[in-house]
Symmetry: C2
Subunit: 255 residues, 2 copies
C-alpha cells in the first residue's frame, strides 16, 4: 500500500514540516520505498517532482525538505508498488490538463478489474491501475461539464464517479486543480484543520516539533489530509469509508 | 528573447555540463532572468522542473547542476518574458499527454496574431503565445494521426504545422515525446553531434571544461541543440531559417 499527503490552505504555505515526517515513511519508518512524488500548485502553475528512488534518501526529496515551496494546494505520494513496475512513469501524482487547468491525482489502494475503455483524449503513460482510473475520471469530467464548473458542482460529479470506481477495490485518492483539494477514502485517510490559535505539534515519524504560532498569522487556515496521522499530539479526524470531502481555503466544505 | 537547450542521445546521458553553461545565461552571462525550466525523459516517464526564479541562483537549478539525471531526451529553456507575466504557469517547457505519451515543448521567439481557435482537448493554462501554439500543434497532431505514428511520419506532419505558424513571427522550438527530439529554427539555433572519438570541450559561459572521452563509451552518440554555441572549441552547425530537424539516438536523421 502507498501513502498519501494533501495540503489545502487559504494562504501560500510550505509543507516542509509535514513532508519531513511523511518522507520518513518512504524507506525508514515505513516500507514504501518504490518511488515518491509531490506536486505544488502556485496559482494555476504547477511544480511536479517524481522520483523512483526512496523518498528517505532521494536528493530531490532532500531539496523539498530544505527549500520551502509555498503553495495553497499540495499532493504527495510515496509508493509501495502493487501494480506496475518501479519506473518513473508509474510514480504518482499524475498530471493532466483539462479546461486550461492542471489536475493532479494520487491514489492509495488496489483496483481489480477496473479497466474501462478510454474513448476520449486521456490515456495512461504508465501501467498502473491508478493512472487508468485518473484518465477515466478526467474523461468523465470532460463529458459532464463544458468548462470548469464550480467547486460544488465538481464535488457532486466526483462523488458519483468515485462511487462507480470504489466497488472495484481500495480507492483512497487525492485530487486537486489548484482551486480545491478533493479527498476520497475507502479505508485509511484522516485530516486536520489548523487555525488560530495555533499551537505546537510533534511529528510521529521523526524527532521534530514545530510551533505553528511562530510561522502563522491569525487569518491562516491549513487543512492536511494523510493516510495515517503525522503528529502525535493533535487530534486527526478519520474519514468514513466511501466519504468524499472537499477542502477550500483550508477548511472542509459542507457540500 | 529566450534561450533553448535540447539533448538527444542513444544512451542515458547527463546534461550537467551543458546545463551549467546554459544556466549562466539565466541572469549572469545573459539577461534571461524571468524563470526557466527543464524536462528529462526516462523511458516514457518525465521529470519536469520549472521555476520563476533566475536559473543562475535557483536552488532547483543548483540541484540539477549537481545531481546527474541521466536521460536520452532533454529540453531546457530560460525565459526573457515578452508575452505573459513572470509566473510559474508561463514557464517553459510545457507538457501535455497524447496517445499515452508525454510531449514536451519549449519556444524561443514571438508570435504575433497567432491565436487559432482551440476546439479540441488542449488548452493553455498560462498566457503565453508559446503555450497556445503548442496546444494547437497537439490538437492538429491528434487530428492527423489515430495513434503514435512513426518518427518519420511525425516529422512530415510537424514540418507542415511549423510552416503554418512560422509566418506569424519568430518560431524557434524544441519538441520531444521521448522517442525523438524535433528542432525548428526561424532565426537562431545550432547543433552538434558528439561521437567516438570524444575529445575535450570548454564552456563559453563559465570557466569549465570536460573531457568527454573519460565519461563515454565508443558506442555513445549525443546531439545537443542550442540557441547559441555552448562551447568555444567545437564546431556547431547553424540551422537554416525554416528548417525542422529531427534527432534520434544522438544523430540527425535524413528525413
Amino acid at each position: 500500500m502507498c501513502q498519501l499527503l494533501g495540503m489545502n490552505a487559504n494562504t501560500p504555505t510550505d509543507v516542509t514540516f509535514s513532508f519531513t515526517g511523511f518522507a520518513q515513511r518512504g524507506g525508514k519508518t515505513g516500507d514504501h520505498s518504490d518511488g515518491w512524488g509531490i506536486a505544488f500548485f502556485e496559482d494555476k502553475g504547477l511544480r511536479h517532482f517524481v522520483d523512483h528512488e526512496r523518498a528517505v534518501d532521494s536528493p530531490i526529496a532532500e531539496l523539498i525538505r530544505r527549500y520551502p515551496i509555498r503553495s495553497r494546494n499540495v499532493i504527495a505520494h510515496i509508493r509501495k508498488a502493487t501494480q506496475g513496475s518501479v519506473t518513473l512513469q508509474n510514480c504518482h501524482p499524475f498530471v493532466r490538463e483539462l479546461w486550461g487547468r492542471y489536475w493532479v491525482f494520487a491514489h492509495n489502494g488496489d483496483l481489480k478489474d477496473f479497466r474501462p475503455r478510454l474513448h476520449s483524449h486521456f490515456h495512461p503513460v504508465g501501467a498502473t491501475d491508478s493512472e487508468h482510473a485518473f484518465c477515466w475520471i478526467m474523461q468523465e469530467l470532460s463529458k459532464s461539464h463544458a468548462d470548469v464548473p464550480s467547486v460544488q458542482e465538481l464535488t457532486l460529479t466526483l462523488r458519483e464517479l468515485a462511487a462507480r470506481i470504489a466497488p472495484h477495490g481500495t480507492f483512497n485518492f487525492l485530487l486537486s486543480n489548484g482551486q480545491a483539494l478533493w479527498a476520497h477514502a475507502s479505508t485509511h485517510l484522516c485530516y486536520i484543520e489548523r487555525r488560530h490559535p495555533f499551537s505546537q505539534a510533534c511529528l510521529c515519524d521523526e524527532d521534530l516539533s514545530v510551533d505553528f504560532s511562530a510561522h502563522t498569522t491569525p487569518h491562516d487556515r491549513v487543512a492536511v489530509v494523510v493516510t495515517a496521522p503525522l503528529t502525535s499530539d493533535e487530534v486527526w479526524t478519520p474519514f468514513r469509508s466511501g466519504e468524499l470531502k472537499v477542502f477550500v481555503d483550508g477548511a472542509c466544505q459542507a457540500f
